[in-house]
């Protein structure tokens, strides 16, 4: 594909990746009260994975581990309240004043969201493993 043919695109993807991750981080934290959240953040990271795969740059591997970590995080957060006699998925909300950021409101839902993100990223990794995009790229280079 693009790999080995267009250094411009490769460099651009390389440079854009951290920025995209920043956007993902923003969406991740914005998700509490505004559009965004763990799923949206996962999609953006997934887009980075997609671009890096096509361009032949390193990307996250081992979809299973992403799935497992994500599912474990989600389940643990869902189950934890039961220990305290609260209903399933009940959340703890923390409100703190932090230097630089001012008043920050967050809670255990953040960990839940992190699990969701991990599952979505894992899905992207699995899809690109399945499509064997790496192989496709290699063929193109040989031509």
């Amino acid at each position: 594909m693009i790999r080995g043919r267009s250094p411009v695109v490769r460099s651009a993807i390389r440079a854009a990746s951290p920025l995209a991750l920043l956007v993902a981080a923003f969406l991740f934290f914005a998700g509490h009260n505004q559009p965004g959240g763990g799923f949206a953040a996962g999609l953006v990271i997934g887009a980075v994975v997609a671009l890096r795969t096509v361009a032949g740059i390193g990307r996250p591997q081992d979809a299973t581990r992403w799935f497992a970590v994500g599912t474990a995080l989600v389940s643990v957060v869902a189950l934890a309240p039961l220990l305290g006699g609260e209903p399933l998925l009940d959340q703890v909300i923390v409100s703190e004043t932090v230097p630089l950021l001012g008043k920050v409101k967050s809670g255990s839902a953040l960990v839940f969201d992190a699990g969701v993100t991990a599952i979505v990223v894992g899905l992207f990794v699995a899809v690109f493993d399945g499509l064997d995009a790496d192989e496709l790229g290699r063929d193109e280079v040989q031509v």
Partner: protein, 494 residues
């Protein structure tokens, strides 16, 4: 008690996550799958006992108001079906552990954890109190079932898997659009609130919603004419997968169909549903008669049996709904046993095609018994559970004086028996000598576990027939709760 309800959904999920990373350590996966399924069965049993004496259990997830949040509702119908479903999956998993070392077994690294994800989805579908969570549950079931169906990558699996995926994705899309229609016209997707608001809508809109969801859930339940995805895809999967799918997945469709249409008072659709029920029965059994492979015949039977449950729903009477629920409970273990026996035959003979097997009754008398009893039960011969379940439905039909469906239901029983006889003569009778002596293989390790699991499931289904009196009472109470939606609404909203 509400904590148990939550555990039922989350624990299989968590066990699946750990199972995925267990790698080569098969014993970890075995402990996880069997342990969590046994736990789920125990919880389902406790819940049934509790709901039976104390009434509906409602879990408000995250303590949100029912209008905003997710509610899980365990009423009598849910608890009853849940217990049977969990026990069935547990038995199939034991069978799967026994079958693992043979060529027919599913890949344990994938199938164990994915079966747990599927279980979680099935639980969620049974318990959810709102339509959107139901959609999520369906997706959970479907995504894991796509992988389970096709993960061996055989040609037939991929080909029929495509039909399966396409049909179900289409139904899911319709479901999503239907959700939008319901939300736009009532302002909620909570089932209890819908039970209040949908009956107040104008007739055309109400009928539209009823028909729309009849198509959506009907596709999942494989009713006529939306069944085409089923008979091709099911027989290609590994036995244990087919057994779970056959026992449970279409029944999840029927279950939500009953729940939604009864709660929202869609009585006007009764005649249409009865017509579809008759067609589903006849077409299903006609398809079964035309097949010459054990697993394919059994797959077509699923469709024809769905017709009976639909018949109970279509009557919209107490006896009818109770009959449908009881039929559901009878059908899950019986169908699963039949497919497990199909798997045993396949493992024994290397094929499930009728013309290649013969004389199995002489060589494997135990297998013959394991097949004969549930087969007779499915056909509705006394004293098995199929007979009482069908009798209840026919009785309900006569009570409401709907002659055609009663006639079809009775005639259909005979045809079912005929197709079972076809399997019997093909597989178990005859000398089998013309086969130039099928080599009698040494019992593989795990074979005992497979036969044992099948036998346990069979005993469970016989127990259903033996305890039919109490079961019928439970079914009647569950149906009464559904028909009188006030009880449900009160439990959820207040």
């Amino acid at each position: 008690m509400t904590a148990l309800v939550g555990l039922l959904v989350v624990v299989p999920m968590l066990a699946a996550a750990v199972g995925f990373v267990a790698g080569e350590r098969q014993w970890v996966r075995d402990i996880l799958t069997v342990g969590s399924l046994a736990g789920a069965t125990a919880i389902a049993g406790i819940l049934l006992a509790h709901v039976e004496s104390e009434g509906t259990v409602v879990l408000r997830v995250g303590d949100w108001d029912p209008e905003l949040g997710i509610v899980l509702v365990v009423d009598l119908m849910a608890a009853l079906v849940l217990l049977v479903a969990m026990a069935t999956i547990l038995v199939v998993q034991l069978f799967a552990i026994g079958q693992r070392r043979t060529a027919w077994g599913a890949d344990p690294q994938l199938s164990g954890p994915l079966l747990l994800v599927l279980t979680s989805g099935v639980v969620l579908a049974f318990l959810t109190g709102d339509l959107f969570t139901l959609f999520v549950a369906f997706e959970l079931i479907l995504v894991s079932s796509y992988v389970l169906l096709t993960h061996q990558g055989r040609r037939g699996q991929i080909r029929s898997g495509m039909t399966y995926v396409a049909m179900n994705l289409f139904a899911s899309t319709l479901f999503l659009v239907g959700l939008a229609i319901v939300y736009a016209s009532t302002g909620t997707v909570n089932l209890a609130l819908l039970a209040e608001r949908i009956p107040e809508l104008d007739d055309p809109l109400r009928w539209g919603i009823g028909l729309w969801f009849l198509v959506v859930f009907g596709t999942k339940a494989a009713i006529f004419p939306l069944f085409s995805w089923l008979p091709d895809s099911y027989p290609t999967a590994p036995t244990t997968i087919t057994a779970v799918f056959a026992g449970l997945l279409t029944k999840v469709g029927v279950y939500v169909l009953i729940r939604f249409h009864v709660l929202t008072g869609m009585d006007d659709l009764g005649p249409l549903i009865l017509t579809l029920a008759g067609l589903t029965m006849v077409i299903g059994v006609a398809g079964a008669l035309a097949q010459d492979d054990v697993k394919r015949i059994l797959s077509f039977h699923i469709i024809s049996q769905i017709g009976y449950m639909l018949m109970g729903l279509g009557l919209f009477t107490l006896a009818g709904i109770a009959g449908a629920i009881v039929f559901l409970v009878h059908h899950i273990p019986v169908k699963t046993v039949l497919f497990l026996v199909g798997g045993l035959i396949e493992e024994r003979e290397g094929t499930s095609a009728l013309d290649k097997i013969g004389g199995l009754a002489q060589r494997q008398p135990l297998l013959a018994v394991l097949f004969a009893l549930p087969a007779l039960s499915l056909a509705g011969i006394p004293p098995f559970s199929g007979f009482v379940a069908k009798l209840a439905l026919v009785d309900a039909g006569i009570e409401k004086v709907v002659v055609p469906i009663v006639v079809i239901a009775l005639a259909n029983s005979v045809l079912t028996l005929v197709s079972m006889v076809k399997i019997w003569t093909g597989v178990f009778w005859g000398s089998g000598d013309d086969e130039s002596a099928t080599p009698i293989r040494i019992l593989r390790p795990g074979h005992r576990l497979m036969v044992g699991a099948t036998a346990v499931a069979l005993i469970a289904s016989l127990a259903i027939a033996a305890s039919f009196g109490p079961l019928w009472d439970l079914g009647e109470r569950a149906a009464a709760d559904l028909l009188d939606s006030r009880a449900y609404i009160e439990a959820v909203v207040s």
